[in-house]
Symmetry: C2
Subunit: 407 residues, 2 copies
Amino acid sequence: MKLSQFYIKTRRSMAAQESINSYLLEKAGFISQVAAGVYAYLPLATRSLRKIEQIIREEMNSIGASEVVFSTLQPKSIWEASGRWDDKNFREIVYIDKESDMTLGPTHEEPMVIATRQFIRSYRDLPVNLYQFQTKFRKELRAKSGLLRGREFRMKDLYSFHPDEKAHDEFYEQCAEAYTKVFGRLGLTSYRVKATGGVFSNEYSDEYQVICPTGEDEILVDHKSRTGFNKEVEDQLKESEKKKLERVRAIEVGNIFHLGTKYTDAFDVKYADPSGKLRSIYMGCYGIGISRLLGTLAELYNDGNGLKLPKQVAPFEVVVIDLTSTKTGLKLHNELEELGVEVLFDDRDEPAGTKLVDADLVGYPIRLVYSTKTAQDGKIEIKERANGKVTLVNLEDTVKSVQKLLG
Amino acid sequence: MKLSQFYIKTRRSMAAQESINSYLLEKAGFISQVAAGVYAYLPLATRSLRKIEQIIREEMNSIGASEVVFSTLQPKSIWEASGRWDDKNFREIVYIDKESDMTLGPTHEEPMVIATRQFIRSYRDLPVNLYQFQTKFRKELRAKSGLLRGREFRMKDLYSFHPDEKAHDEFYEQCAEAYTKVFGRLGLTSYRVKATGGVFSNEYSDEYQVICPTGEDEILVDHKSRTGFNKEVEDQLKESEKKKLERVRAIEVGNIFHLGTKYTDAFDVKYADPSGKLRSIYMGCYGIGISRLLGTLAELYNDGNGLKLPKQVAPFEVVVIDLTSTKTGLKLHNELEELGVEVLFDDRDEPAGTKLVDADLVGYPIRLVYSTKTAQDGKIEIKERANGKVTLVNLEDTVKSVQKLLG
């Protein structure tokens, strides 16, 4: 892709912000703030978010879940029917158009139960595992952490329906494993952390937390097993247990809940077992914050010069900067593109300095610079953004070297 | 994909509906109604919508536009700033949470101007062409036509910013060509039709219309040039011109508008030309109704037995039904899947009749049926959904025959 065909506009000067992720992502031209906790995703963020979603999609498909897209508009009446409207904490976060009594779905348990109940009659109709990439809307008062806490945010949510607790628990563990895989593929070390069920469930929930000094959660972790406890359940630990754990700050990137029969019973959705007896359906819900993940990655992967997103999430893998008046850079770009490398050619009529600074700011994992100086020796400069390592390689070995670095 | 790993639930009996597309799409398990004009997209629709979006994405990228995702939440103040809030027709369609004064974007001209103005200083920053796949929200009183007229609907919208009218007009024509390509690739014959600018523009606009007896628009068309006029501008035609045109009903699937400098001037976004003089920016907007396209295709491609969506839009290309107790069907499915064919194996423990009826209802373009009867002669039955043609082929030629039919 030529940069002139792709819209990237970085910002030279920008006022400091409370949040590292929104500061760096805005400066590098990934996002643009619309209001507190509301962002427009510009082309760079759109590419990264799509890559994050594709990794999650593959893992959700692999555990037999199917992708859907439910609606954002939800009649207020469905939250009344489940009893959730009586919960002041819940009601306060819901956007509502009072004229039509339509709300903006802050979550989708009720809509999922309503949509699937028409199809669930017997045990043969179970299990049902549906997931979606959805924009969620919640009136968030603490919307000061960039993409970490939005009033409008992208989320993957999955809802499972099983005939009994055992079948539910098995799927729950399958999903837990898939989550660990997802975060691993994204370049994150995740901890499975016990927490309360919040407004969703009376049972414990499992959170997926990533250690980060700027995270707003405080957790106690065991590094070896990659498990831990949210501070909110600390009281239930023995002192001897606590001693073995390390107290750290972290960002919650996912969570999974046992919902039991709370929502299915509220809507009286039952299934007939093989003997014809009507039974309750066990439900679970499983969330991953997509835009929050991009925020988390930005929060963790950066330095004084800009972003250093891992290559599986970075919008492009390679940038080519040609400071000579030859066609060498363009030719290299074309070769790499044909091999399926996600490469950008900086064809802007801008000074060398701007191109180099921008490359660090956006954080392309690999930067190729061809200059009159390197050309003299028939070389090209390869810089790895992650570790700053700079190598000069023979021009004819460029493609091979890039492929090796991309693994 | 095995059907047991993918969630498809068709409906046997369903009350008649005003709209053919929502009736068939609901019966075949593509969608589920949430409220008037609001639908949940189940796994089949989600696949089809993604395929439609990918075709559009390729064509938008090919004219040098970049993909973004803007926010749904928009402060009311931006519509006041542009003057649109004074328009009663506009204001009446906007969902608003009065507590926060946040609206649900019914369109994105204002947000696009606001987000891009920070990057536009000089003529070298132009053109800017950004598009997105967005859910739009409009209070639609006539939400009776299924996916054709929703209160919440998927849309591709593109916004262009050019330094002068000539550059704008050139891009407008490029986009017009891309639209004709998109609709053609989707299996639709589109007409470019002159219409008024509606609430968006005082100039003429171009609509893309598809002839359909159940469409709510009335247009006058010339079949040879695939152009025409919306009835609303009929008065401006000479009688001699009208005589050459045919009056038909149609569905609007896309539209493109010259916005001139209306919105950029409203926000005082100017650029410095090469001499340093500040000049106005010319803007255009270009929409395609994604969910409406799925509705249009369903409205046009069906028969008494169900849907007949074209293969480039159908959720799967092939369904395999094995009525024997052999592994033949599964083996064929695996072979086809490995070759990249989008194939579904109906592994449900259901009677043959249910499987065959469902296959027609969902409308897989190619249906393979392996039965004890065809097995006796070493054959398999291939049925093309589009024309109902049934062929018996030698089992060993199945893959080759399927590939030939898929072209």
